[in-house]
């Protein structure tokens, strides 16, 4: 029969039936149902299997604390493991599968673990699986891994998108039960910027799940009145399906809004979920409370659930788990469930109350001073065995059992900054510490104020206080009359009886015995107990389990619960999809691209691009007939050496340094001298860190007495700017110097090769004489090109050839490269990419990232003498430490294979011939290697111990990773034009 367990009333929309499938079987529910309520309506109690023993389990709660009813929702790439059926809104066509079972939910082979349970005690795995040692990875562990885990991820790319956002408010209200709504009304009317966040689909909290909380009005009506008013206020933002999952420093909260999870799939261009970072001047925690169970033997059967959840199912979703129910309680709240379900026509088999002094009822049987000893029913509860006040036992038939062991305030968010809650004896529960954070106040059940009247008033009053803190005046509004019943509870945690297992943590299968064993073995601190037994470490983080276990541990230790304390509360409050945190930053959008000014042109040329930090640079430019990258690169290199080439070098960092003291400032920043650099000249500069090791290199061009342009390597543009600002602001705030980055503002091209000048003369306006005499090596100047376009020209060379770098405003970069290509046709101009750039600089022996890796001294780079001892520059003092000045330290050398057909690999190590290949004999390593068309073989740069003295000698080049072991000759690092004649022609 369809929806056999559907009751009358409820807040579901019976006019909108929805079909769905669970484990391949089709069912029907209504709009407003959760997957759990719809399954219950269809008399499905068995929804999952537990983690360790694979015990049959049914839904336990009606909210995010659910330990049992976890399913694989959806299919294909959208499959979502471990999804709580209680938090899954039903939509038409929903499909879900049970998980952690094989082959089926009703018959699970791994349930034989349950039969072996007496050997699988807490931590049993620490005591075995040790022999023989090799069997762990091969046999034991794979078997354990297969059995463990819960649901399956598809292994496919998540097809949905996620988003991030940022919100600001005066008051963030977390939870929309009576206290949250009263607070929102208070703050909203006061004109404060308010965010009301509710994890549920609708606002109202327990007002939706209970009968008669308000005495003169139906709870629902009041909720809709309040929400109606709040939604008319522009200063109030109402957010449902939004979980505030974490509190971070200084009023920052993390929230996840599930925008599209209630739909079969997100609409086009819309995210599945949004991660909100909320900046709240003040926050109010009104997150309510979570009910806790009472533990007894076999208390885990499908049909056993929290009494409050049973009530929520009946009142909100018009569903009962069974037509015959029993209640086991230690407080008055449990009786409410019986009243509400009785009113809906469900048979109340009995209310079993551990207390002697209990409310009575004429409608159903109340067994005071009674306890449940055991339960029966393999795949679903059939009956419970009750020990009556007089000691006799009685078997009571029921298909569902509601447990009420009291309520735990949801203190989590109040404890995310490492505050711990305190035990309140009167109401037998942990409440937030009163000396809490002034940024976060707590109201209602979350504060241990359990009556509706109390919740309403505390919500409003705490909102007033929070706003007063912000100098916003606010007043407690008129609030509805509400029940104000005191908490009547006599703590009762677990039934002491026979030898069977009684579950504390349902999902992770931690029983009373496990905690007892942990204690017996010395795991007495609460953290030890948790870690040894895994209690509270499941997907529900022990929301319904922890307090019961703490009570048990307290009893075992002979201490109070206060002395035992809690474990640490950590975000997230409930698990959050990992994609949400990444938002849009994934795939190609993981990081922004930086494109060079010639990108469009290079793409038209068919260039192959490479990532350089966030930049995309042309790596080489294949031409017709070239099938291997080496062909292209060799051609580009040779073209530069023979005639002329052009390369986009815009990515180098450029920092504009101005001010009367600019030269003095640079004199501090660079280890070599800059004070006397003439205007119109460029100088190579080496920058050290204060620890004396090389940080970066580049050039500084003096455009005027008070104006320099500094270049940095591409990778260090940002750190160097930060470094320079540190010294400007923090060490020499008295210097007249101003810095600004201009990396983006100029398109800069290297034009290199014997014909570079001839080419540039065709482009540069005739007013500017760039002859060798007028514009010699290391000259710089501001010029114009192509008819009065302002430009800069630097005669510097990375390739070792006659070369210039020419810069124009970025927007003209595309036109300039096209013009250079056009003008250069007569010289067979060749565009070259980063690969050829690298070969050219290795041939010339210039250091780059592989050599400037933060581990090199100036001396290692062959620039030891550049470090001026006559002035105070950053790093000079500590560069003088003895180890960094040792004679036999590494030096940059060149390497060539003796057999020119062999290839040197960067990252190979250097050994003396005849030595055993081991660390003790390690002589250095290859930093950069390339095929040099100029030399006609593989060449490399390397750091070699005492290398300067070893030019001309032989060395073994070994890369055990590649089975490479070849002989090489040590050379000067300058494979081309060591005297620098080519630069100066």
């Amino acid at each position: 029969m369809s929806q056999k367990n559907r009751l009358v009333g409820g807040q579901i929309d019976r006019s909108r039936p929805l079909s769905f499938a669970f484990d391949g079987k089709n069912y029907e529910g209504y709009a407003g149902d959760t997957l759990a309520s719809a399954l219950l309506a269809n008399d499905v109690r068995l929804m999952g299997r537990s983690f360790k023993y694979h015990r049959p389990r049914g839904v336990f709660s009606a909210g995010s604390e659910e330990p049992n009813a976890l399913v694989e929702l959806r299919s294909g790439a959208r499959q979502e493991p471990n999804t709580r059926a209680t938090m899954t809104e039903l939509y038409d066509g929903l499909t879900a599968m049970s998980q952690n079972r094989f082959p089926s939910l009703r018959f699970d082979m791994l349930a034989f673990n349950d039969a072996l349970s007496s050997f699988l005690s807490a931590g049993f795995y620490y005591k075995t699986f040790m022999w023989p040692p090799a069997f762990w990875e091969k046999l034991y562990e794979p078997a354990i891994r297969r059995a463990a885990g819960l649901g399956r991820l598809s292994g496919k790319e998540d097809p949905d998108s996620y988003d991030k956002g940022f919100l600001h408010c005066d008051l963030l209200i977390i939870g929309s039960g009576p206290s949250g709504l009263a607070a929102a009304l208070t703050a909203g009317r006061a004109g404060a910027e308010v965010i009301l966040a509710e994890e549920d689909v609708v606002f109202g909290g327990r007002l939706l799940a209970e009968q008669n909380l308000l005495t003169e009005q139906c709870g629902n009506e009041w909720v809709s009145d309040v929400i109606g008013e709040l939604s008319s206020l522009p200063n109030v933002r109402l957010m449902t399906r939004t979980t505030i999952f974490g509190q971070y420093d200084h009023g920052i909260f993390g929230a996840v809004e599930r925008v599209s999870d209630h739909l079969p799939e997100p609409p086009a261009d819309k995210p599945r979920q949004i991660l909100w970072r909320i900046y709240a001047k003040r926050a109010l925690l009104a997150a309510g409370a979570t009910e806790r169970p009472i533990t007894f033997e076999n208390n885990d059967r499908p049909g056993v659930m929290l009494a409050g959840a049973m009530r929520a199912y009946a009142n909100r979703w018009a569903v009962t788990a069974s037509t015959d129910i029993a209640i086991f309680t230690n407080n008055d709240d449990g009786h409410r469930t019986a009243w509400d379900l009785d009113a809906k026509g469900v048979n109340i088999a009995a209310v079993i109350d551990s207390r002697m002094d209990t409310p009575s009822s004429t409608e159903f049987e109340v067994l005071s001073g009674a306890q449940i000893l055991d339960s029966h029913g393999r795949l679903g509860l059939r009956s419970v065995k009750v020990r009556l006040k007089d000691g006799s036992t009685r078997e009571i038939s029921c298909g569902a059992l509601g447990l009420s062991g009291g309520w735990n305030p949801n203190v989590h968010l109040a404890c995310h900054k490492r505050g711990r809650p305190v035990w309140n004896e009167t109401i037998s529960t942990f409440v937030p510490a009163s000396s809490g954070d002034h940024l976060l106040r707590i109201a209602g059940a979350a504060a241990g104020i359990f009556s509706t009247h109390g919740a309403l008033h505390s919500g409003a009053e705490e909102a007033v206080k929070a706003l007063n803190d912000l100098d916003v005046s606010a007043h407690v509004p008129e609030l509805p009359e509400a029940e104000d019943a005191p908490v009547k509870i006599t703590p009762f945690w677990y039934v002491k009886s026979g030898k069977g297992r009684a579950w504390l943590d349902l999902q992770n299968d931690v029983t009373v015995k496990d905690v007892q064993l942990a204690h017996q073995e010395g795991f007495r601190s609460v953290e030890h107990m948790k870690r040894y037994t895994t209690l509270g470490m499941a997907t529900d983080q022990g929301k319904t389990a922890n307090v019961g276990a703490l009570a048990l541990l307290a009893e075992l230790e002979g201490k109070t619960i206060t002395e035992i304390g809690t474990t640490i509360f950590r975000p997230p409050y409930t698990p959050v999809s990992m994609g949400t945190f990444a938002g849009r930053s994934r795939g190609k959008d993981f990081r922004p691209y930086r494109l060079t000014p010639s990108h469009k042109w290079a793409a038209e040329q068919g260039a192959v691009f490479v990532e350089a930090g966030n930049w995309l640079r042309a790596q080489w430019f294949p031409t017709q007939g070239e099938t291997h990258w080496r062909q292209s690169v060799d051609r580009e290199v040779l073209a530069v050496r023979k005639s002329v080439g052009a390369c986009d070098v815009t990515t180098l960092g450029k920092i504009d340094v101005q001010g009367a003291d600019a030269a003095e400032f640079l004199n501090h920043i660079y280890c070599n001298g800059f004070a006397k650099l003439p205007v119109g000249k460029v100088r190579y500069g080496l920058m050290l860190r204060e620890d004396g090791l090389a940080m970066d290199d580049g050039t500084a061009a003096r455009l005027a007495e008070d104006h320099f342009v500094v270049t940095t390597t591409t990778a260090n543009a940002v750190p160097v700017f930060r470094h320079m600002e540190f010294y400007r602001q923090c060490l020499w705030p008295g210097l007249d110097v101003q810095l600004i980055s201009t990396t983006e503002a100029w398109a800069q091209f290297a034009v290199a090769g014997p014909n570079a000048r001839k080419l540039l003369q065709k482009v540069i306006d005739p007013a500017y004489d760039i002859s060798n005499e007028a514009f010699p090596y290391m000259a710089c100047g501001e010029i114009t090109v192509c008819g009065d376009l302002r430009a800069r020209l630097f005669r510097i060379s990375f390739s070792g050839e006659l070369a210039y770098e020419i810069a124009v405003p970025t927007r003209y970069g595309d036109a300039l490269i096209r013009r250079l290509m056009e003008a250069g046709k007569e010289f067979d101009i060749t565009p070259y990419g980063t690969e050829a750039l690298g070969v050219l600089r290795i041939e010339k022996g210039h250091a780059a990232g592989n050599e400037l890796n933060g581990q090199s001294t100036a001396a290692m780079l062959g620039m030891g003498r550049m470090v001026s001892q006559k002035k105070d520059s950053i790093g000079r003092v500590l560069a003088g430490r003895p180890y960094l000045q040792r004679e036999d330290d590494y030096r940059l050398v060149g390497l060539k294979p003796v057999n020119s057909k062999e290839t040197i690999l960067a990252g190979a190590h250097l050994m003396t011939a005849g030595d055993t290949v081991n660390a003790a004999n390690d002589q250095g390593w290859v930093t950069s290697a390339a095929y040099s068309p100029h030399v006609g073989s593989s060449i490399a740069l390397a750091f070699l111990k005492n290398g300067e003295a070893r030019h001309g000698g032989m060395i073994r080049i070994v890369s055990p990773l590649d089975n490479l072991d070849i002989e090489g000759e040590v050379t000067s690092p300058h494979f081309i034009d060591p005297e620098g004649d080519r630069l100066r022609v």
Binding site: R594, T742, R811
Partner: protein, 190 residues
Amino acid sequence: MSEQLLAPLTALGNDTPVVVTIGGITICENPDLTIASLAARKDRGAELHSKLQADTKVQLPDPGKMMFAEDVAAIWTGVEQWLLLAPISSHPDYAAEVKTVVADSASVTEQTDGWVVFDIAGNNLIPMLERLCNLNSKALSSGEATRCLIEHLGCLIICRESGREFTILGPRSSAASLHHSLVTAAKSIA
């Protein structure tokens, strides 16, 4: 050959600016601004202020603010540091023009090509801005300008009309990525 003038490209790599309308939101690339940065020389702030005001009527704003004078906007960008924005058509060599005015009371740097400029307009841009940056965009009023991060990019946001008109300056080399972020956010809230 050198007499033939070079033709500029917009930051998005076209001859003409890109304009996109999504829902009620228009995102418009603006290539018509020239930009110069200005940093007062040591202890010359007062002199700089008076020179600028005398010659150009430009008043230099306080932190987080922007001020207009005729066709020039001045934005505070750092301690004793500002960006000046002006129409490129009437100020073809703007940095040089400013330098003439301020002489050695300030360092001036040409920054026109350092940035891509997007003007965005719509009846309510707040939901879009909320998805992009951590500013309290709802509280931004006309004449406020501040730096912020948009999808890993350091940008400058200028509020031209509260909630309805904003200008976003971003690093020019990432113009395409920034544009993609703006369009994605607009679609997401449309």
